[in-house]
């Protein structure tokens, strides 16, 4: 339950990665070169951050000629945004078990 969140938190905890991801969400697909122009870090650094975002499932890459285009995969964020829903589901399931237990305690 907490592992998926941990991986996403870890990935987005870095401000440069978070900025890259937010830009892709806001502005749509972009090349590494375009992202580097405004990232304030070198192209290899941007590529490294993009690779980490990709392994977390947060971005997707597309090769076209010599360029690699990146786009955001915002659906990957669901585990973070759904923390409350996840915890609610967790407790509902536990209450189901508690209900069974209370029945058994009668016997």
């Amino acid at each position: 339950m907490l592992h998926a969140q941990d991986a996403l938190f870890r990935c987005l905890a870095d401000p440069t990665r978070r900025a890259l991801f937010e830009r892709l969400c806001r502005e749509g697909e972009q090349t590494v070169a375009a992202l580097t122009a405004r990232a304030g870090v070198s192209q290899p650094a941007v590529s490294k951050h993009l690779a980490q975002l990709k392994s977390a499932g947060l971005v997707r890459d597309r090769h076209a000629g010599r360029q690699t285009h990146y786009s955001a995969q915002p659906a990957a964020l669901a585990p973070l945004i759904d923390w409350s829903r996840e915890m609610t589901d967790f407790w509902e399931r536990k209450f189901d078990v508690l209900e069974d237990l209370l029945k058994r305690m009668d016997q």
């Binding site: 907490l2 937010e22 209450f95």
Partner: protein, 142 residues
């Protein structure tokens, strides 16, 4: 950013056809807690520190905060992590209310993260604010 925005609260409520005394036993006796919640070394004494062992392999650090027999049980429910951004701290409170047919059990978990995570480069940004930002971005992204 307000304190309100920093806190995430989850509430689950259910009516059980059993008296509060019985529900209370299921909430406070370690072998019964183990049956419905998690393996533990719980004891119903304020200040008692215990652990809940999750089936995902993690361990929750807990401390009893309030024991009001048959009415209220509250404990700290922490999932510690050396990285402050992942460090979950929360408080779980069970409230038992007698009903005509048994007991209404209400569980409220109020969770929050430290308000100044280092990784966000200063005191201005907390996780909730980032959630808000990301959610706004996502809403726009459709």
């Amino acid at each position: 950013m307000t304190d309100q925005a920093e806190t995430l609260t989850v509430t689950v409520e259910r009516d059980f056809p059993h008296p509060p005394e019985k529900v209370w036993r299921a909430l406070t006796q370690p072998h019964l807690i183990a049956e419905w919640l998690m393996p533990n070394d719980f004891s119903a004494e304020v200040g008692h520190q215990f652990q809940l062992k999750g089936d995902w392999g993690g361990t929750l650090d807990c401390e009893v905060l309030e024991v009001d027999p048959y009415e209220t049980l509250s404990y700290r429910w922490d999932f510690p992590n050396e990285n402050p951004d992942f460090d979950l701290r929360s408080i779980v409170t069970f409230t038992l209310t007698p009903t005509a047919s048994g007991t209404n059990l209400r569980m409220e978990q109020a969770g929050f993260r430290p308000d100044q995570p280092r990784a966000f480069g200063g005191a201005k940004y907390g996780w909730q604010q980032n959630f808000d930002k990301l959610e706004a971005v996502l809403a726009k992204a459709g």
